[in-house]
């Protein structure tokens, strides 16, 4: 497909989205559903613009993004370090691997009540839960990537008399890059979910708590504005991670 045709299709699919928004507007205006339950895109947009104008929504968005990123960065660093340690040693894999598989099927949000029992309802609790929750995808992906190195590369590292650390640094970790980045992408999604839930439960300032309070007081235009912002955070973080993956893994495509 030539670039021009591709651009035309893309324009068409954007137009379809615009039509869907228009449909939403028509339903909201003419269906008789009270705007309290279904605000049109016009009301949601006005609330969004007003919220950004006063700085309120910008502040809340930033609070949520910051929480999500801190927890995620912490989880990624710990996950890669622990994963490399466990993955590079056969003994550690044999002894600790099964335990990891045991914890894996637990829905991560279930750790929230546990951490709450220890730390109470606080911003620190939310951060710890985000870190605990989003460490799993990174940790498991790193273990998998580090332990599945091409056997011939390991022979090379043996004949070069590499230490365990050198093998890890020069062969195993580069080999695990694809897995680690995929794990980090999943971890970031988990981090956003846990940030939202954590804010709701701990009443910490942020978009999660904001959409809960606006729903409770039936300010549905502001609620939808908040949901739109959360969707944008999800979209943006995914795009950024994809771009990073594309750049970092460029050497693999050659």
């Amino acid at each position: 497909m030539s670039p021009v045709v591709r651009l035309l299709w893309f324009g068409g699919s954007v137009a379809v989205t615009a039509l869907l928004v228009l449909l939403w507007q028509l339903i909201a205006t003419y269906s008789g559903i009270p705007p309290v339950f279904l605000p049109g895109p016009d009301r949601a947009w006005n609330a969004l613009v007003a919220g950004i104008g006063t700085g309120e929504l910008t502040r809340l968005t930033w609070a949520t993004v910051e929480r999500m990123l801190y927890g995620w960065v912490l989880a990624s660093m710990l996950g890669i370090a622990l994963g490399a340690l466990i993955g590079s040693s056969r003994r550690a894999r044999e002894y600790i691997g099964p335990t990891l598989e045991l914890v894996r099927p637990v829905p991560v949000s279930a750790f929230m009540p546990i951490v709450m029992a220890f730390l109470g309802l606080s911003g620190r609790m939310v951060l710890v839960v985000i870190a605990i929750g989003s460490i799993w995808p990174v940790l498991l992906a790193t273990v998998h990537g580090v332990s599945n190195v091409e056997p011939r590369l390991l022979e090379v590292s043996r004949s070069l008399r590499f230490s365990r650390f050198q093998t890890l640094w020069k062969f195993a970790l580069p080999n695990a890059q694809t897995d680690i980045l995929a794990g980090m992408r999943l971890g970031l999604t988990v981090a956003l979910v846990l940030a939202v839930i954590g804010e709701m439960l701990a009443s910490e300032a942020g978009l999660g708590y904001h959409i809960l309070t606006t729903a409770r007081s039936y300010r549905s235009d502001q609620l939808f504005a908040g949901v739109i912002l959360l969707g944008l955070i999800g979209l943006a973080s995914n795009l950024v991670l994809q771009a990073i993956e594309w750049r970092v893994l460029r050497w693999r495509r050659r």
């Binding site: 099964p98 929230m112 029992a117 956003l192 709701m200 729903a215 409770r216």
Partner: protein
Amino acid sequence: MNATKFAKGAIFPIAALIVWEAAMRIGNVQSDSLAAPSQIAAAFYQALIDGTIPRRTGETLRTALTGLALGGGAAVIVSVILGLVPAAARLMQFSIEVLRPVPAVALIPVAIMTLGFGYGMGIALVAFACFWPVLIYGHSAIVNIEPQLLDVSRVLRLGAFGRVTKIVLPAALPRYFVAFRLSAAVALIISVTVEIAANPLGIGHELMTASQSLHPDLMFAMLLWLGLVGWAVNAVLLFAQRRLFGPAAYSASLQ
């Protein structure tokens, strides 16, 4: 050989349990947030015989499975249409890419406001979350159907309906099963998350109440049970996948 492997894997958790139990007893710890493994086991047994665990599990599974069936079912229909009509797929692409990253939990307040507490909101949110993975997997399943099969349907002069029910869906079935198996995990996660955050139903709610009413024994017992349920759901579906589809589903889950 397998027994040694199992024994090696079991050493770490068993040692951790013994140290935990010993520390709690020797230190004579009285805590609102931590309980000894023996107390957790007792609370687990208690919750099992007084009906708490069966009832709560039923509530969670009902939400998760109904939502999965609704969201996944809708996704099957949409993915067949998008798979067979490439123009439709290209035109919907932007809308899908924009809607998909909206976290299902961001819709919790919307669900509270419009549906109120109860099964309805949990099911709706699970359905939303499960729709996307089934749609994406299903679409790629349809697009990757052996072109010769579609030629066959043309030679047989099957109508659109016959083509979908006789050729397309059977050919894509193993991949759809894999999609549903992976989405079952999503369904469980979302239903439990909604229960923890808002909905007064299910295992998640029991876990939350135990945490807030300072019953660490029951809290850890429910966490343990939740892990078992998650593991069992996946194990049952994996078993079914092997029995029903064998190598077809194995290769599908790799792609």
